[in-house]
Symmetry: C2
Subunit: 234 residues, 2 copies
Amino acid sequence: MPAPERTLERPQAEAGTLSERAASLIEQDILAGHLAPGSRLGIVDLVQRYEIGATPLREGLSRLMSRGLIVGIGQRGFRVAEVSREDLADITCMRTAVEIEAVRLAILHGDAAWEAGIISTLHQMRRHIERTGNEFREGAADFDRLHKGFHTALLAACGSQRMLAAHSDLYDQAYRYRRVMMAAIDSGEGFIRTHQMLADHVLARDVAAAQKMLAAHLHSTIDFVYPSASREQS
Amino acid sequence: MPAPERTLERPQAEAGTLSERAASLIEQDILAGHLAPGSRLGIVDLVQRYEIGATPLREGLSRLMSRGLIVGIGQRGFRVAEVSREDLADITCMRTAVEIEAVRLAILHGDAAWEAGIISTLHQMRRHIERTGNEFREGAADFDRLHKGFHTALLAACGSQRMLAAHSDLYDQAYRYRRVMMAAIDSGEGFIRTHQMLADHVLARDVAAAQKMLAAHLHSTIDFVYPSASREQS
DNA sequence: TCGTTCTTGTTTATCGATATTTTATCTGAT
DNA sequence: ATCAGATAAAATATCGATAAACAAGAACGA
């Protein structure tokens, strides 16, 4: 049998079909900020950039469109989705709705493996901060993966594939805003403490406290990125 | 200038780009039951069926994939999504999460126009039942459009585009199951009364009552379609 | 009976052509 | 002289057909 060929280099960056690779590549470039919000995504440019044909590129673009990172207007091509306060508020709104219910269901149905997952991912996140010190600005992508892992672990036992998928999509959409916030974090102390408390509430099966803290945690991004008087109440 | 060419024949069935038309057509055929759950969606078959080229068809298929009506496996083509009790439970779970929060926000932010929309759509629905009698099985598609309009009107003031879009998608996904339920409804009396009460709770700005009734309403589909002992609690 | 290979049907990707949009320039009017 | 409008040209997206790659199934041989 052939060697497994490093397939775990980047998450599904080397996936089988070219359409998926195109979608993955473009998504990563948008999330990383290499493709600025509002940029025109000309087919020919992308063909040269990624060395992928026009058809699989269009297919990947179409797939990304439904994830909210791309907007495509009829016959006028694709653009990277704009960032705005309204959009972040919308994302947060939807995230709150999904996660409030998902964490409730997870607390109801969660078993020992679920609890272990929360503790494990929280530990990994703490270790990462300890290792890299307070300077996790550079390795933001790596750290964010752990952060996403923790929040996913919180909801993992909710029993709904759609909820987990929606959470994953919304988390990725919020990443572009979170990048701004990350640079403003001075110490990892408060960050870890916040998440520790969140985990404690969840593991104590305290639905109300967990929901309240989760909602506040989600809203904190808005206040950080757009520090105007927040008129959106929970 | 040229004549406007009947564009309102079916909602975006004659949309500009062929990809959208393909997506719309396939979606309608899946929802109407012409394409059975689990059916293979061979490209050549679809090309003959819709007289649309392979490329826009693939693009429409990709777009539908993210809406949950189509599943596509790597290099093994596309299939219509299966129906199952677990899938319906998943849809209901997600719908509950979204609508519970959306109706809360709508009640908070809703203005007079929002109230008027609820009353108007409820009235249309009642009139439709009165006109067609208790036999709204045949015109299920028309009636369902009014039903969707009412539920959309309930949430219209939630202020979140993503929530409204998610509601629309989930409503469509549930349509295949609701078809089964519609045939079991004997009289439109209870149906209208239920929705009248729901509207009353919402218009009275009673968040708790509206949420409770909405959740029960969503769960009623599960009990109708899969009348086994429901182990999923709200 | 099991493994290998060939064949067939399928999906997927590339290329070329058409129609649409967009931009820039030119003309006319204020 | 400047601005608005219209026309033309260039660029761009969409579409359809052809070719290659992949997976599954069947047949043959061990």
